[in-house]
Symmetry: C2
Subunit: 108 residues, 2 copies
């Protein structure tokens, strides 16, 4: 669930969105995109949650991998429908992860 | 809801977490942290959503501002309780936002 990313540096694409009221085809496309993205070279993982806003963070080895995903055919169709139908607003931020650390509880 | 960040570069702290079953004091602390963080120099905004995992992304003008927040007294207390009580797992990623773009629908 939490992406097992390698040691930095690597890249994050932070996609924050507000959904529209149009729901048709959204869930199916979301699953298709999860399948498609996992096949991309340089894809490291993805994390996602939605309440009032949605946040999806995908992780990538480098900027070229992110560019290739932006141009991928099925993803381009999804982007078009996203703009036209599913989102009232979204923001995409491309960021270079410089450091990370984590905590895992031993006695859950 | 979606943070109105300035033109890049700026920094993002991506905090991804899995909650424990212990809930006591969590919501109150979360509100207190939202108040405290908003007073920090260099704080630009925050976005948050939780489903199976929680994702909170805070935005900052620079690394020094992030370091100051990590050391802030109330935040340090919250971090301690977070490790001991509220989280089974978390990961923190510090990333430099290099580019961003957005879409806003005109006819909602």
């Amino acid at each position: 669930m939490i992406a097992p990313t390698p040691k930095p540096p690597y890249y994050a694409v932070i996609f924050t969105s507000i959904r529209s009221e149009m729901d048709e085809g959204y869930t199916e496309m979301a699953y298709q995109m999860m399948d498609s993205v996992a096949k991309m070279d340089g894809f490291l993982g993805v994390e996602s949650a939605r309440e009032e806003i949605g946040i999806t963070v995908s992780y990538w080895s480098d900027i070229e991998a992110i560019k290739a995903w932006k141009k991928e055919t099925k993803h381009k169709r999804a982007q078009k429908r996203g703009k036209e139908q599913w989102y009232d607003f979204y923001k995409v931020r491309i960021a270079k992860v410089e450091r990370d650390y984590e905590m895992e509880k031993e006695n859950k």
